[in-house]
Subunit: 506 residues, 2 copies
């Protein structure tokens, strides 16, 4: 069977070997946390993505033009969407950190985690309140209460796990500095809730300060990490902290778990693809009365009227699918996702979550040809940002390739060039489409559809094209190889085949 | 680090060792299919679950009573929902089978799989057409066309994988009977589309026959499997097929991949939990105008009016969460999911997917106290069926425990009794609540809320209670142990600790 090895058999062996006569009660009922984390990832990614719905459901009557007032309304809602998406991502990151410390779960922890999830699913409601009543502080207050509740449950999980140390990560379990780890993880988890506690206080008399504190919650971990990373890359690799060598091998500020980044991203892509068809189901099933009166009972005629929307649907699905495909290919090569990569991935996902908005735009203004240009450009911009952040993940990964990439890709070669081509495809195509709409204003829709059709074929032919390009490069004399456009030293593929067999020590 | 081992490192080693001088082109670009399958599972489970939306969005004006006509309308839509859910599950099962044969993927296969997913996401739309226009055959025709397209893409995947055998499961790759396997998997994949081709033909002149053929598509694999399983359990274990021993070690009718059953179930639970909060966000954010006029600007007063709905939300989330928890605990002990277990799991999931309907019922009839009884009973029935099918999975697994369960649970003991108690909790509670509403009609809502609050605490205390019960049993003389209520031989837990160290050969 080709399926990935399930962690259970290994766990059983471990469980069995650790069971001693007096250890029995402590050992029973613990489980591997893998599936609980997948479930949490799925829930969190769905919650983050459905935040786009209040934005897409902005009611715009067909008579209204795409004028300044609607642009402002949309811009505000998009800003709110981005903020909510990022806040859920912060909650997800804290959850990831927490379960890097807690290695195994028992029933109590599983139930506590469910309580945490329940509180998190309540966030979209408080946000709806904030959007609908921007001047009433109740929404912010409820939101802060939710965040504090999440922090309290997570602190409870930490307390429980450190009370029963067999639930901890084996490395921490054996560590002499367990109390230090506890302090460390509690600080990470309670940083956000503490700020929100202040925000809740401010909301009662001066709520703009609350918004400011909430934005701080989002960017604080990234800013502090970015600062240390910049310092690190300017001054040189940072020295291990003096008080303990362990912090270096198990760094809680270090890379996020790749599996969880994958799972969270998959959830976002999957729910975005599904939101598209939900819109189709809701809006494009013709009314039976209409069919009888307008189309003299012919369902085919009624459906063919909304034909362009189906075309738009297939185009959007292809875009979401191929962006997932690029993300999938990219993360196959990634071994660990550092915090800057995590931030770039989050930003990319936030724009992917914006794709239903692009689709909705297409539907809302379908009858107004003079707004065509606007919506084609919005779509191009969303696709461009979603894909350029993916490209940025790859370049960031290359900066620290020893830490972040699989040994097989570290030495350049064909796969390397191929990856660059794959990730550059959508940024180039959307930029090209955007530029063409500026010159050939009249054909903007045609250009956009052409892009949506051409890119999937480009993906199919990409491997062939890159191989051809590399073959030409190889056929040229060695002198011509130096200024090759493919970045770090394409080299002979036979070289990296050999390097596969001798991976660099890491 | 406690996270499950990623399959990549193993793959790299394998890839590296198989790369020979001429093998280079064949080896590059293949990937492990794990993440693509998770993504497909997420998409398929979401598509299956959102089929409930046309049912919950049945418009019922507050003046209408819960009379026969609405009951009939709802019953029809629930039947349609169950059919659509099961059809998507058939598609998912075929997909699972297919990727048990195809072990690795390359870019072309990933893109083909995306095309397959795109066709599948189109199914909800054809179903909406079928529901809205029951007398027009176009919906059925389009549906059949979708199924045929899915079959065609999957056949293409099979053809491609058998053309490049390094993509196949290693077992099949080395097999001398590769052509037989190809025939076998093609038959499994194209069985449904062939029936749908006939259904498409019938839809043009006699569409009731099409519906009949579609129901056949759903139940054919289960009926044939159930028949062979009954025959097997009556006559004794079946003999290996005469023409090849391999079919016995790699049986395509055999157990489904447990990881994919887990992933699909997680997706359903996660999206159901999210649909609940979406309804809250859509319906329970008060209108700014209402707040100004009716509640003299007090948002708190406006929200407190819909307080009971929030209570209902927390109750429903707790139910979904705890059903997931029971499912999670159950599948920790399961090693392989046989086809009857798969069917029971699907049925359980179909009722879990019906929970938003129960919630919606609560909202729709909130102002009519005389319909209270009806909706409490509907909710109890849905919870009962969802949980009793989980219980049935466990009993079915016990029938073939050698094949289906982890070695650690095969010999009874404390965990065994605990599992029974855990799975019996919801069926008992919902049955009790249902029975109480028959006697204490007036307090039906109170009883229901009491159940929703009591069950989570019961879960927390369960381990304590079961341990207490077992301790009492152990304290009794050996004679009293025989007629103990806990089913297969509780035994001394020290026994199964030792059996953990010597797992039975499987």
């Amino acid at each position: 069977m080709s399926r990935p090895q399930s962690p259970e058999p290994a766990l059983n062996v471990q469980g069995a070997s650790s069971i001693g006569p007096g250890d029995e009660d402590a050992a029973d009922g613990t489980q591997h946390s893998h599936r609980m984390l997948s479930f949490s990832d799925a829930l969190l990614s769905i919650i983050a993505t459905v935040m786009i719905l209040p934005v897409t459901h902005t009611n715009i009557s067909p008579e209204q033009e795409f004028d300044k007032s609607i642009q402002k309304l949309l811009a505000t809602r998009i800003a709110v969407y981005l903020m909510t998406f990022l806040i859920v991502t912060v909650a997800w990151a804290a959850h990831t950190r927490l379960f890097q410390v807690v290695g195994k779960i028992d029933d109590t922890l599983a139930l506590l985690n469910l309580a945490c999830m329940m509180t998190i699913t309540f966030l979209p409601f408080t946000f709806s309140l904030m959007v609908t009543f921007p001047d009433v502080p109740l929404g912010i207050f409820l939101f802060c209460m939710c965040v504090i509740a999440i922090g309290a449950v997570q602190a409870l999980i930490v307390g429980y796990a450190f009370h029963f140390p067999h639930l901890l990560n084996p490395q921490i379990q054996r560590s002499a500095h367990r109390a230090l780890y506890k302090q460390h993880i509690l600080r990470i988890i309670l940083r956000g809730p503490a700020l929100c506690f202040a925000a809740a206080g401010f909301s009662l008399f001066f709520y703009p300060a609350s918004y400011l504190l909430m934005v701080t919650v989002i960017f604080l971990p990234y800013v502090s990490k970015a600062a240390s990373w910049c310092r690190g890359s300017l001054v040189g690799p940072r020295e291990p902290p003096a008080h303990s060598l362990e912090f270096f091998t198990f760094d809680l500020h270090g890379p996020l778990s790749k599996e969880r980044v994958d799972a969270f991203s998959d959830g976002v892509y999957a729910i975005v693809a599904t939101l598209l068809i939900l819109d189709i189901c809701e809006d494009n099933v013709p009314d039976p009365k209409d069919v009888r009166e307008k189309f003299s009972g012919s369902l085919v005629a009624a459906l063919s009227e909304s034909g362009p929307r189906f075309l738009a649907y297939f185009g959007s699905f292809a875009t979401v699918g191929l962006l997932w495909f690029a993300h999938h290919s990219l993360f196959l090569h990634v071994r660990k996702a550092t915090q800057p990569m995590g931030l770039l991935n989050t930003l990319s996902l936030a724009f992917v979550g914006g794709l239903p908005l692009a689709y909705q735009q297409t539907s809302a203004f379908a009858r107004q040809p003079h707004d065509e240009l606007e919506r084609v450009r919005v779509s191009c911009a969303i696709i461009f940002f979603a894909s350029i952040f993916q490209f940025a993940i790859w370049t960031t990964a290359l900066l620290q390739e020893g830490e972040t990439l699989q040994p097989s890709v570290r030495f350049g070669g064909q796969e390397h060039a191929f990856m660059f081509a794959k990730l550059a495809l959508y940024p180039c195509a959307s930029l090209l489409a955007f530029a063409s709409t500026c010159i050939l204003t009249r054909f903007s829709t045609a250009i956009f559809h052409l892009m949506q059709i051409a890119v999937p074929f480009a993906f199919l032919l990409l491997r062939l094209l890159v191989r051809l390009a590399l073959a030409i490069l190889r056929a040229l004399p060695r002198l011509a190889l130096r200024p090759a456009p493919t970045p770090p030293a394409p080299g002979d593929p036979r070289d990296d085949t050999r390097s596969l067999l001798h991976p660099a020590p890491c």
